[in-house]
């Protein structure tokens, strides 16, 4: 519960000092953690590597934007719309592809991403590379902000932080429920031994689709959130390679297949990259990419040192030892 308290109170000191930027960092952490959890469903639990989840991120962002701009829908309804559309498209394109196994499936997801790029850049409906702009709402208080997902003025950082916290929590709870349910069991069966699973009657193709579309729904929600945050949806933004890699990396760093894995991963990776970008990416060494070099080095070190993810560190032992020390010194 301490964690929940920290998460809730995190933005307060920044509000007071006006350093809204840190709230945005928090927003990014939560967004990526949420995406990471979503990715974990297909990648960690079902064991199918999806390298192109950003297409659903983009579908979510564009659907929500189109619904809001052209049909005037409320932001939350647009969010639901985005999630539904994303799931539908996911089901349609994923089913045929589930014939492929392992690496082949992974490349197919990359293929989808590569196909989505020129579509995004040239399709007139979504205004191609000129992007869609969500009209900026002016005025209105906090409650109005929550209702429309737009927080004019300085409340933006704060508003989106809590918004992402809410969506993140919902995703986390949903994931937890799925993990313990029959679906979770089926996913893991497919991952560990696909032929064996099929032998006992589990339709691996169906469950791969379900797993991927659950991820698609999460990504669509994330995309919608991002769209309203950025107030603009550009194809090269939402289809960007980082939306493919970061959630995946967060899951891997934290511990693949573990519920909290992506959360830990996001909490570690994003502040590091932000810190690097702002301290080392500036000044006389700017433009030399030093921050990214170090970022890369850190990643390699973590990967080499803890190939099973940071969660695999013996936290419980350490905690027990700490407690043991405390009680020992207390008694002595």
């Amino acid at each position: 519960m301490l964690g929940a308290l920290v998460a809730l109170l995190y933005p307060i000191p920044f509000e007071r000092s006006g350093q809204i930027y840190y709230e945005t960092v928090g927003f990014l952490v939560l967004l990526n953690a949420m995406l990471g959890i979503g990715w974990n469903i297909i990648g960690g639990w079902a064991g199918q590597f999806d390298f192109g989840p950003s297409i659903f991120f983009a579908i979510g962002a564009y659907t929500a934007a189109l619904l809001t701009i052209n049909l005037g829908w409320n932001a939350w309804l647009a969010l639901l719309g985005a999630m539904v559309v994303s799931a539908a498209i996911c089901a349609a394109v994923t089913y045929p592809v589930t014939k492929l196994r392992g690496h082949y499936f992974a490349i197919a997801t990359v293929a989808m991403w590569m196909i989505a790029q020129p579509i995004g850049a040239t399709w007139p409906l979504i205004n191609g590379s000129q992007g869609l702009f969500i009209p900026v709402a002016t005025g209105g208080g906090f409650v109005h902000g929550v209702l429309t997902m737009e927080f004019p003025g300085r409340g933006k950082g704060l508003g989106f932080y809590y918004l992402s916290l809410a969506l993140f929590t919902i995703t986390l709870l949903a994931a937890r429920a799925i993990e313990r349910s029959k679906w979770g069991f089926y996913f893991r069966a497919v991952r560990d031994d696909q032929d064996g699973a099929e032998a006992i009657g589990i339709d691996s193709r169906l469950y791969k689709v379900i797993a991927r579309c659950l991820m698609a729904v999460v990504f669509a929600a994330g995309g919608t959130l991002y769209g309203f945050w950025a107030l603009a949806v550009f194809p090269d933004q939402v289809l960007e390679v980082n939306w493919n890699i970061l959630p995946m990396m967060a899951a891997v760093v934290g511990g693949l297949g573990r519920l909290w894995g992506p959360v830990l991963g996001a909490v570690v990776l994003i502040p590091i990259s932000q810190l690097m970008a702002t301290t080392l990416g500036t000044g006389p060494l700017a433009g030399r990419g030093i921050d990214l070099i170090i970022y890369g080095a850190i990643i390699m070190v973590i990967a080499g040192w803890r190939p099973n993810g940071l969660l695999s560190l013996p936290w419980s032992e350490w905690a027990a030892r700490l407690r043991g020390h405390a009680s020992a010194s207390g008694k002595a």
Binding site: H103, Y104, A111, V252, I293, P307
Partner: protein, 277 residues
């Protein structure tokens, strides 16, 4: 062009197709090859066709080094950590080059191939540029050598054995670590050679790697895992699809069509064209 893609892809075919190790930084090694060729050409005036050999040797060493220092440790864990580690490698190498050379575009001006640029050979009504042809022939030659190596020698058999079943391979006395290291070395060397050749036609800059990496992955998968020949065929196919698409449809969709074909073929042949597993 297809032959050049093949060269880029074949390095990956060994590391990934055969040994199942994902290398996100594949294109970066190619880029290093390009920079090496440019550097030696600009500072020492050596023609890339010659520098190809020493650079290949150096990059072989680099590949082995990367394996021993990084990938060996990573193999202990999840498959995914490999991706993660190589993503780190990707950032590291690309920006290392940026730090040393900045992101400016550079060109090789004085090599044999660039001097031949514009010279064409007309074969049966089709005009082929000589430099590309030369590059393609080199690629083909390397391919053949590789194919013979993998398929016909004991060493190649050992590589394949390790790929199929590591433990069984150990039982017959093959040391898997060594196999992996060699595979990495070979893969890196090959893709660096590709880079050297490509440097004659493309501008040399740090971000050059990524688009080739993605294509290479598609090609290896299309050709099928474990088949060198498959990779070659797939690469040629990709080259053709690209040209045909660009000639009749909006060029922006060139690559998209390549990937769409991949999916289509995948639906009918889930192991790729010639895949073994």
């Amino acid at each position: 062009m297809g032959l050049l893609y093949a060269l880029v892809a074949v390095g990956l075919a060994i590391i990934w197709g055969l040994m199942e190790m994902i290398n996100f930084a594949h294109g970066e090694f190619m880029m290093l090859g390009m920079f090496g060729a440019w550097g030696l050409s600009a500072w020492l005036g050596w023609d890339p066709l010659i520098t190809m050999v020493p650079l290949a040797v150096v990059m072989y060493g680099a590949g082995v080094l990367v394996y021993r220092v990084l990938m060996q440790k990573v193999q202990r864990g999840e498959m995914f950590t490999q991706i993660f580690a190589t993503v780190g490698l990707f950032f590291f190498i690309q920006n290392g080059v940026v730090a040393l050379f900045t992101s400016d575009y550079r060109f090789i001006n004085a090599s044999l191939l660039t001097r031949l640029s514009g010279v064409n050979l007309t074969v049966g009504g089709v005009r082929i540029g000589v430099p590309l042809l030369v590059g393609g022939l080199i690629a083909l030659a390397l391919f053949l050598i590789l194919y013979l190596l993998i398929d016909r020698t004991d060493f190649g058999l050992a590589l394949q054995a390790t790929a199929e079943d590591r433990d069984a391979a150990m039982l017959v006395g093959i040391r898997p670590q060594r196999m992996y290291a060699v595979a990495w070395g070979l893969g890196t060397a090959l893709v660096a050679i590709a880079g050297v050749i490509l440097a004659n036609f493309f501008s040399v800059y740090p971000q050059a790697g990524l688009s080739f990496t993605v294509l290479a992955y598609a090609i290896v998968a299309l050709g099928g895992f474990g088949s060198i020949l498959g990779t070659l065929m797939a690469a040629l196919l990709v080259g053709v699809v690209q040209s045909v698409t660009a000639a009749y449809l909006p060029p922006a969709f060139k690559d998209a069509f390549v990937f769409a074909s991949y999916i289509l073929i995948g639906l009918f042949r889930p192991q790729g064209l010639f895949g073994r597993f």
